[in-house]
């Protein structure tokens, strides 16, 4: 039987991570993500897992990457400044194709900013924080229930595509308590990474004969192989052979983009006849839902597009919607980040893209969104 619990977003991450099979956590506590570290420290030993508080955030993600290479599902969680510190290792995990889950409970920035207040200022950092060309998967839940579900999904897609997956919450989602329906553990689809079928002697960690995602052997079971941040060939040893490097870059991109339909999550409300579509995500999307309901009562034809998969960005769906609706309104708790992606998506279409944002630590209220809708629609 399923159970219902009242829990915070951070509690939900912990609960879901354990169900998803996470058995290693390393990190450095930072507000507003600290309860994740606290919860993992409490829960992991009960299921035979390990928790380590490292010397800093870099150590945290480094240890998680190392643990993952031994075949153990691993996670780290942080916020703002800690997320900055983790960027280099996120790149390493992308290049080494190492599954890990990184949670970033967004708070006001830049720098130490406002530890106890929310923001959505890290959405572009999640996309481009680490250097070099790369693809990343990032989910941005709008409720505690969704935080629970997408933590499990984050582990699943991370394992499936041998890649880091980022879960972006914010101070509001992280700390507020809501009801969460939790099913029997067996009801959840849990995906584990593909292990090699060949013997250790013939194993290559980046063997392309398996398609876009090569099987990953766990260290410690007799498979000896090399992982590096340098560009490498199928054996994992460094190469600068331009042809091989280009193929590697292409495959790293393709394994995410060509599989996008498998993890393309979004919610739409009343977009069919909309003259204006609000694009909002995370906690702000909750305010947007109230605003569009209120606006509909005043006969303003407004809809909502809420990306849950924030990266890769769903340019295709926005483009399709732009053929129906004359206006978009991007609302986010920052000074304008995802609005740029919306503009990119509607390029060549006569659709206007408007923006409402603030970065002062206050949640954007339904009233503010409603007023902006009125202003844009001139009613």
């Amino acid at each position: 039987m399923s159970i219902i619990e009242l829990m915070s977003g951070n509690d939900a991450v912990v609960k879901a991570a354990i169900i998803a099979g996470c058995r290693f956590y390393a990190g450095y506590p930072i507000t507003p993500s600290s309860e994740i570290a606290e919860g993992m420290a409490k829960e992991l030993p009960k299921v035979g897992g390990k928790f380590i508080q490292m010397e800093d955030e870099i150590g945290g993600i480094g240890a998680a990457i190392g643990a993952s290479l031994t075949g153990v599902k691993s996670m780290t969680a942080t916020s703002g400044p800690g997320f900055s510190l983790k960027q280099e290792h996120i790149g390493f995990a992308i290049m080494g194709e190492i599954p890990i889950v990184i949670v970033n409970a967004m708070r006001g920035g830049p720098s130490t900013g406002m530890p106890t207040y929310p923001s959505q200022g890290d959405v572009m950092q999640a996309r481009w924080g680490t250097h070099g060309d790369h693809q990343i998967i990032a989910f941005v839940p709008s409720s505690v229930q969704e935080t629970f579900e997408f933590t499990i999904k984050a582990f699943n897609y991370s394992e499936m595509y041998r890649t880091p997956v980022i879960l972006l919450t914010d101070e509001i989602i992280a700390h507020m308590r809501e009801k969460v329906v939790i099913n029997e553990v067996e009801k959840y689809k849990i995906i584990d990474r593909m292990k090699p079928s060949e013997k250790p002697e013939g194993y290559k960690p980046f063997d392309t004969k398996h398609g876009l995602v090569p099987p990953l052997a766990p260290y410690g079971e007799g498979y000896r192989f090399h992982i590096t941040g340098l560009t490498h060939d199928q054996t994992g040893f460094p190469t600068t052979n331009h042809e091989i490097v280009q193929k590697l870059q292409q495959r790293l991109q393709d394994k995410i983009l060509k599989n996008f339909k498998n993890f393309e999550f979004y919610e739409e409300r009343m977009v069919e006849d909309a003259d204006i579509i609000v694009v909002a995500y995370g906690s702000v999307a909750r305010s947007a839902m109230r605003a569009i309901k209120d606006a509909r009562k005043d006969n303003i034809k407004v809809g909502l597009f809420r990306p849950i998969t924030l990266w890769p960005f769903n340019y295709k769906r926005i483009k399709e919607l732009s053929k129906k609706s004359k206006n978009f309104l991007a609302v986010e708790m920052n000074m304008g980040q995802i609005v740029g992606e919306v503009e990119r998506a509607v390029k060549g279409v006569k659709t206007k893209v408007e923006f409402l944002g603030k970065a002062n630590g206050e949640l954007i209220s339904p009233t503010e969104i409603f007023s902006k809708i009125r202003e844009v629609m001139n009613v």
Partner: protein
Amino acid sequence: MRRAEIRLAGSGGQGIILAAKVIAEAAGIFSNYNVLQSQIYGAAARGELSKADVIIDEGDIYTLEISAADILLSLSQEAYDKYSKELKEDGKMIIDSFYVKNYDQLDKRIYPFPISELSKQLANSELFSNMISVGIITQMTKYFSEESILKSVEKNVPKNFVEMNIKAVKIGFEKVAEKYPNIC
């Protein structure tokens, strides 16, 4: 029921956050409403102003914050001073008359109870002010049943203290019945 917004405020250490959690579970887990519970994080150390909010609704909750409360609990003068203006026209404010001395005597929305005194009578300590308040709120609002709140208390307080906390909640019930029989 329509959306109800409850704000509990007092000093850090008075058990405001536990009270909010008990109310939220009474409504959300033991009465099947949607609930959202949040609180101020950060500087709220022992003795400083502490606040926790509970939103209860039959439908989905989209507005995540309270702008004006239906029910406001003020366990300290500072809490009263800061939040009394954010009470709805038809809202109710419950104050601990021992700590909140300075309040608008003519405001019909204010219901004073000697909460911390009652706690001292019960256990020679103010530790149970929060649960007495929970009992008062339950009885004044009828958002959820007495049974729901008692189950929630049982679930949320340490085992050794369940009996005392339940006694405290029941004192809350009784005081409302005594003082404002027309509400019950």
